[in-house]
C-alpha cells in the first residue's frame, strides 16, 4: 500500500494515543470523542519527529486515521512548524542559530564551516534559539527511541566536524545572572532545580499556602493592587485579566503559561524555567485556583528541551507531594498542569495563535475580540500569562502588594528582567527595579566588550527598536520608553559595537519577520516580503509606507511590529555606509 506507516512510526504514535486492540474492521468508536482528541495532533507529530527525525506521508496518514483529522488539514499543520520535516532527513540534525545575537558573535563563520563540512544535509539554519547569552548557539537533535536534544553554546568553527556525531556533554557556558535587587532570580544558581525540597527550603510554596488561606478574591485583589503588568511585551494589567477570567460565566476556565519565548534576543523565561521551574508551577497553581481553572498548560517553545524536561519533573514531583492534583495541600482544591511543546513558530507566542497550536491547528492568530478572557483555548475563558509575569505572582502573594508596588516607579512596579546580550562583556540575565537607566544596566553587565565603542542598542527584541548611545540615560520604565518612542518589550537589551555590520543585522531582522509571518493576513504576508526587498534596495520611503500599512492593518502584533526595528535603524542611519 502506498504511504503506509512503518512499524516504528506506528509505535511512536501509539505510545501517545494508545494502541488499537485490533484492526478496526467491525466496529470503531470515533465521532466527537475522537475529534476531541484533535489537540493531540502536535504531540503526535512530535512523537514521530522525535523517533524518526522526520514525518513521512505514511506516518501522517496514520496520525490522521487515529485522530480523525483530514490529511490535508494535518499536512497544513505539520508544514506550519519549522522543527518538523516532511522530507527525509538524517536522524541527527544540527540547528545552528544565525539570528542577530549570534550573528554579532560569529554565527556566520559557524554556518560557513557547517556548509563546508556537511553540505546541505544534517544541519539547518535556525532563528533565535534563545541562547543569546551563550552566542553563537546551536541545538543538536538526535531522533530515536530515546531522542536527544542538546543545546550548545559558544560554538566555534573548529567544533563543527564533531557536532553531528555527539555533542559534548551539555556545554552551554557559564550562566551570568545579576542585578541590583534579586527577587525573581534570588534562587537561581542557589538551588537544585530538580529538587522540590530545595525549592521549599528557599521559600517555595509559601505563596500557595497563603493564597489558599486568603482565597481567590483576595489573591486577585492583591495582584491588582500590586499594579503588576504583563512582562511578555504588551504590559496589560495582570489583575484585570485574572478578574475577567474568574468572573466569566462559561466553563471550564483554562490557565496558560506562555513560554513560547521566541523574540530574538530573549532568554529570560528559559533561565527561569530551567533554574527555578517550581516557581512557575507554583505561580500557575495560584493563578489557576484564583480564576476557577482546573487545568493549565505550559506552552514551551520546542527549542527549549531542558526547560521542558525540568518543568515536567517539577510537575511530577509537585503532583506526588500534593501541590497539584485533586486535593491540593489537603484543601480540597483541584488543579493540574501539563507541558505542551511548540515546534518552531515565533507566531505561537501570540496568545490566540498559541491557543490554536494547543488545539492542534496551524498557529494562526485569531481576530480579537473575543478576547481570551471571554473565548480562548477551546473557546473557553482563558488566562494567559508570560513566564516572568507568573514568577512575580508568588512574590506578590508572600510579600504583599504594597511591598511590590513600592519597587520601581508609580507607572511600572516591581523589578524587571533584562536579557543583556550582543557585544557585551558579560552577557546574561539581570534583574533591576523599573527606573534603572540603560547605562546602569549595561555597566552591570560589564559594559561593551573589549571596551569598544557602542554603536546602538536594540531594545525589546526584533519587534522593538534600535536606540543610539545618546539614549543611555533613558530610565527603563514602560512610561519613559513609550515617551521616547521605544519599548521595554520582552526585556531585550542587545548591544552592537562599532565593529558590527549593521546592514547584515537589520536585513536578518527583516528576514526573520518574512519567515515567521504566518501568512494569514495580507499586510503582514506581503508587507514583510516587500520590506526585506525594499531594505536591500535602500528604498526608505517605501519601507515607511509598508510599515504604516502593516501597523494599521495586520491582525496581530507580529505584523504590527514587524517594521519597528527596521524603521528605527533607518532613523538612526545605522545602514549608512562609512558611518561605522
Amino acid at each position: 500500500m502506498k504511504d503506509a506507516p512503518t512499524a516504528e512510526e506506528i509505535a511512536a504514535v501509539d505510545a501517545l494515543v494508545g494502541t488499537q486492540a485490533q484492526r478496526d474492521t467491525r466496529s470503531a468508536h470515533g465521532g466527537k470523542a475522537a475529534r476531541d482528541d484533535r489537540h493531540l495532533l502536535l504531540p503526535a507529530l512530535h512523537a514521530v519527529n522525535d523517533r524518526i527525525g522526520w514525518i513521512s506521508a505514511g506516518a501522517l496518514n496514520y496520525i490522521c486515521r487515529r485522530l480523525t483529522v483530514p490529511p490535508a488539514d494535518a499536512f497544513g499543520v505539520a508544514t506550519f512548524y519549522h522543527m518538523f520535516s516532511l522530507e527525509p532527513r538524517p536522524a541527527t540534525t544540527v540547528h545552528v542559530c544565525d539570528d542577530i545575537a549570534c550573528l554579532a558573535n560569529g554565527a556566520a563563520d559557524v554556518c560557513a564551516a557547517m556548509e563546508e563540512h556537511y553540505g546541505r544535509t544534517s544541519w539547518e539554519r535556525s532563528p533565535c534559539l534563545g541562547m543569546c547569552d551563550h552566542a553563537p548557539a546551536a541545538l543538536v537533535i538526535k531522533a530515536g527511541a530515546e531522542p536527544v536534544q542538546q543545546p550548545l553554546g559558544h560554538v566555534h568553527a573548529a567544533d563543527v566536524p564533531s557536532l553531528v556525531d555527539m555533542p559534548r556533554d551539555g556545554r552551554t557556558g557559564k550562566l551570568h545572572v545579576g542585578g541590583t535587587q534579586l527577587r525573581l532570580l534570588r534562587r537561581i544558581g542557589k538551588i537544585d532545580p530538580e529538587s522540590l525540597d530545595d525549592y521549599r527550603a528557599h521559600g517555595g510554596y509559601a505563596a500557595l499556602r497563603r493564597a489558599l488561606e486568603i482565597g481567590p478574591d483576595a489573591v486577585i485583589a492583591e495582584i491588582a493592587a500590586s499594579k503588576l503588568v504583563g512582562r511578555g511585551g504588551a504590559a496589560f494589567p495582570t489583575g484585570r485579566k485574572m478578574e475577567a477570567v474568574a468572573r466569566a460565566a462559561a466553563h471550564p476556565h483554562y490557565v496558560i503559561c506562555n513560554a513560547d519565548e521566541s523574540e530574538p534576543g530573549t532568554f529570560k523565561d528559559r533561565i527561569l524555567m530551567e533554574q527555578d521551574p517550581f516557581a512557575i508551577v507554583e505561580a500557575m497553581t495560584i493563578s489557576g485556583i484564583a480564576t476557577g481553572c482546573e487545568h493549565g498548560y505550559i506552552y514551551v517553545r520546542g527549542e527549549y528541551p531542558v526547560a521542558v524536561q525540568r518543568l515536567q519533573r517539577a510537575i511530577e514531583q509537585a503532583r506526588r507531594h500534593g501541590f497539584l492534583g485533586h486535593d491540593i495541600m489537603e484543601r480540597g482544591v483541584r488543579f493540574d498542569l501539563e507541558v505542551r511543546r511548540g515546534a518552531g513558530a515565533y507566531i505561537c507566542g501570540e496568545e490566540t495563535a498559541l491557543f490554536n497550536s494547543i488545539e492542534g491547528k496551524r498557529g494562526e492568530p485569531r481576530n480579537k475580540p473575543p478576547f481570551p478572557a471571554q473565548a480562548g483555548l477551546f473557546g473557553k475563558p482563558t488566562l494567559v500569562n508570560n513566564v516572568e509575569t507568573l514568577a512575580c505572582i508568588p512574590e506578590i502573594i508572600t510579600e504583599g502588594a504594597q511591598t511590590f508596588a513600592a519597587i520601581g516607579t508609580s507607572g511600572s512596579t516591581g523589578t524587571k528582567l533584562y536579557c543583556v546580550c550582543g557585544t557585551v562583556a558579560r552577557a546574561g540575565l539581570y534583574e533591576v527595579p523599573f527606573g534603572t537607566t540603560l547605562r546602569e544596566l549595561i555597566d552591570l553587565a560589564g559594559g561593551v566588550r573589549e571596551n569598544r565603542k557602542l554603536r546602538t542598542v536594540l531594545l525589546g527584541g526584533a519587534a522593538g527598536t534600535f536606540v543610539g548611545p545618546d539614549s543611555l540615560d533613558l530610565p527603563l520604565t514602560f512610561e519613559d520608553t513609550r515617551a521616547a518612542g521605544t519599548t521595554v518589550g520582552s526585556g531585550v537589551v542587545m548591544l552592537f559595537d562599532e565593529s558590527i555590520d549593521m546592514a547584515q543585522i537589520v536585513t536578518r531582522i527583516a528576514g526573520f519577520f518574512r519567515d515567521e509571518s504566518c501568512g494569514q493576513c495580507v499586510p503582514c504576508r506581503v508587507g514583510t516580503v516587500r520590506q526585506q526587498e525594499a531594505l536591500r534596495r535602500g528604498d526608505a520611503a517605501l519601507i515607511n509606507e509598508i510599515a504604516r500599512a502593516m501597523r494599521d492593518a495586520s491582525i496581530c502584533g507580529l505584523g504590527q511590529t514587524a517594521a519597528n526595528a527596521v524603521e528605527s535603524a533607518l532613523t538612526l542611519r545605522l545602514l549608512d555606509k562609512g558611518a561605522s
Binding site: 484492526r23 474492521t25 467491525r26 470503531a28 465521532g31 466527537k32
Partner: protein
C-alpha cells in the same frame, strides 16, 4: 443532506453509521458498525430485541399508536445480541450501544440510502427500520423519524408525480375507481385500472416478448441495470426504443429514436421535490442548445402526432392541473412556493403551511386514523451465498465525486476521480499479491471484468467494492445479480459473489466476456 447532518454533528448530535465499509461518513460517526453485506434485518431485529429486553421500548406510544407489537416481540426473540454478532459480524457490545443510544435519545432519526434498498429484500429492510421507530416512538415528532436520503434533487418528486407503477400523482392509488375517475375527467382519457410494471417486471416482460416498445426518459438502463449483458441483450431486441435524454447515453445509442431534452435544472421551468418533501420552484436560465427541447414540449409534440392537440402548455399550467388533482399539492401556488421558499407536502389549501413532518397524528390521543402496524420481518441472507468458487463478497455503490453511470458527472473533471478501481482490504491485497493499480480479474457467475485494484483500509478481508461510474472502462454491472425485490423492483446490486485473480503481466487480458450464466 449529509451536510445538514454534519452541521448537526458539529453542534453535538451523535451519529451512528452502519455500513459494511468504513466510509468517510463512518469517520464522522461516534460509532461505526461494520456489518456483513445483507445482514441489515438481523442487526435491526437484534437492536429491537435489546431495546425491549432492556425495558427501553416506549410502551405508552406502542399501546396507543401501533398494532402488532406482540407478534413483533415474539419474532425478534431469537435475535439476541450474540445471535446478532454471529450473523452480522458486529460485536455484541456495539449492537447494544447502538440500541441503547437510539432508544434513550430525546430525538433520533434513521436515515438510509441504497445500502438498505438495493437488496432482494429491500422493503423488508425498510420495514425492520420502521419497526424500530415505532418501538421507540421516534416518529411523527420534530427531529425524529425515518428518512431515505435521495441521490438527486428530484427523486422524491418523480415518485410524487406518479412515476410509480401503482400511483397517480399525489400518492393516489390506481386501484381506487373514484380517484381514477377524477383523473379521467380532467385528462379526457381512460386509465388502466390495474397496477403497472416496475422496472424489474418490465425487463421480464421484455424478456418474454410481451413488452416490445420502450420510451425511456432520463434513464440509462443499458448501464445501470444489474446483469448488464442480459439487459443490453433485452434492449437490443426491442421493436421500438425511444430515448429522451440530455446526453447521448449508452441506452440512447441503442435507440431507434432519440429525443434531445433540456436540462431540468437550468433550461426548464417547473418544480422539484427534495427528500424533505419540500416542493421548490426551479427557473429557466438558458435556452436548451441545438435541437433540444423542454420535456413538456416534447410530450405535447408527441401527443399532437398521436392526434391530441393540447396547444402550447406551460409548466405553470401543468402544475396548476396537478394541484387541482392532488390534495397534497393543492395549496402550492407558484406565488406561495416563491414566498415561502418551497412548501413540504401535504399542503391542502392556500392557507396551509405544509407539514414539516409526517405522522404527527400518531401522537394524538386517541390516534386519528389507523394505528401504525409493526411488520414481522426475518433475516434472509443475500441470494448469492459465498462458496469455494466465488468466495468474495462484491458490493457496489457510488463515490462522492461521481453520479451513477457518469452521464451527468463524467463530463466534469474532479481531483478526487481516479477512474474505476476495485477497492480491496490490505489483507486481501496481500493474499492476492496486489499492489495499488494492479489489474485484477473479477469474476461472478454472470461474467468477468478486469479492474485496477486500490487498497482501502476501510474494507476487511473478503469484501471488495466498486462502482459503475466508469462503464466505458469497466462494465461493473456485468457482475451484479438481478435478483430483485418483488415489491420495489430493485435489484440486489449490493451483494454479488465473486472470485479474484491477479492479472499477471504477459498473460493477455481477455476482453470482458460473459461466461455461462447460472443464476
Amino acid at each position: 443532506m449529509f451536510h445538514h447532518m454534519l452541521r448537526g454533528i458539529r453542534q453535538g448530535a451523535k451519529l451512528y453509521v452502519v455500513d459494511p465499509r468504513r466510509t468517510t461518513s463512518a469517520q464522522w460517526a461516534d460509532l461505526w458498525l461494520g456489518l456483513d453485506v445483507g445482514s441489515d434485518i438481523a442487526l435491526a431485529n437484534a437492536v429491537g430485541r435489546e431495546i425491549i429486553a432492556a425495558g427501553l421500548a416506549n410502551m405508552p406510544f406502542i399501546q396507543r399508536a401501533t398494532r402488532g407489537f406482540e407478534a413483533y416481540r415474539e419474532s425478534v426473540q431469537p435475535y439476541t445480541l450474540q445471535y446478532g454478532e454471529r450473523v452480522t459480524g458486529v460485536p455484541a457490545d456495539a449492537i447494544r450501544e447502538l440500541a441503547h443510544a437510539y432508544a434513550r435519545a430525546d430525538r433520533a432519526m434513521l436515515c438510509w440510502t441504497l445500502g438498505i434498498t438495493e437488496h432482494h429484500n429491500a422493503v423488508d429492510n425498510v420495514r425492520a427500520l420502521i419497526n424500530l421507530s415505532l418501538l421507540t416512538g421516534h416518529v411523527g415528532r420534530y427531529g425524529s423519524g425515518v428518512c431515505p436520503l435521495r441521490g438527486q434533487n428530484n427523486v422524491q418528486g418523480g415518485g410524487d408525480m406518479g412515476a410509480l407503477p401503482d400511483k397517480l400523482p399525489g400518492g393516489q392509488s390506481v386501484d381506487n375507481a373514484e380517484l381514477r375517475a377524477k383523473f379521467e375527467r380532467v385528462w379526457g382519457a381512460s386509465i388502466p385500472p390495474h397496477k403497472g410494471w416496475h422496472l424489474g417486471e418490465m425487463f421480464e416482460a421484455m424478456n418474454r416478448g410481451e413488452l416490445d416498445t420502450l420510451y425511456v426518459i432520463g434513464e440509462n438502463p443499458a448501464q445501470s441495470e444489474a446483469d448488464q449483458e442480459h439487459a443490453m441483450h433485452v434492449l437490443r431486441s426491442l421493436r421500438g426504443l425511444i430515448v429522451q435524454d440530455i446526453f447521448l447515453t449508452k441506452t440512447a445509442e441503442l435507440a431507434h429514436v432519440v429525443l434531445p431534452a433540456s436540462a431540468a435544472w437550468c433550461e426548464a421551468e417547473g418544480t422539484v421535490t427534495n427528500s424533505e418533501r419540500r416542493v421548490q420552484r426551479c427557473r429557466k436560465a438558458l435556452d436548451p442548445p441545438g435541437e433540444a427541447h423542454d420535456d413538456i414540449q416534447i410530450i405535447c409534440d408527441l401527443a399532437r402526432k398521436l392526434g391530441r392537440d393540447w396547444g402550447t402548455v406551460t409548466a405553470h399550467e401543468v402544475w396548476d392541473e396537478c394541484r387541482s388533482l392532488s390534495p397534497w399539492h393543492a395549496g402550492m401556488s407558484y406565488e406561495r412556493l416563491e414566498k415561502l421558499d418551497g412548501i413540504p407536502w401535504p399542503c391542502y389549501d392556500e392557507q396551509h403551511p405544509g407539514e414539516q413532518f409526517l405522522h404527527a397524528r400518531l401522537w394524538e390521543d386517541p390516534v386519528r386514523g389507523a394505528k401504525a402496524p409493526f411488520k414481522v420481518v426475518q433475516h434472509a441472507p443475500p441470494v448469492e451465498a459465498l462458496d469455494d468458487d466465488y468466495p468474495v463478497r462484491l458490493t457496489t455503490g457510488r463515490r462522492l465525486e461521481s453520479y451513477n453511470t457518469g452521464v451527468q458527472s463524467g463530463g466534469y473533471r474532479s481531483p478526487l476521480r481516479h477512474g474505476e478501481t476495485l477497492d480491496i482490504s490490505p489483507e486481501d491485497a496481500q493474499r492476492y499479491g496486489l499492489e495499488d493499480g494492479d489489474p485484477v480479474r473479477v469474476t461472478s457467475r454472470r461474467g468477468s471484468v478486469v479492474i485496477p485494484a486500490r487498497i482501502d483500509p476501510g474494507l476487511r478481508a473478503g469484501l471488495v467494492f466498486t462502482t459503475f461510474h466508469f462503464n466505458d472502462e469497466v462494465a461493473t454491472n456485468i457482475l451484479t445479480i438481478d435478483a430483485t425485490d418483488p415489491q420495489s423492483g430493485t435489484a440486489e446490486f449490493k451483494a454479488a459473489a465473486v472470485r479474484l485473480e491477479k492479472v499477471t503481466a504477459g498473460r493477455e487480458e481477455q476482453p470482458a466476456a460473459p461466461q455461462a450464466a447460472a443464476v
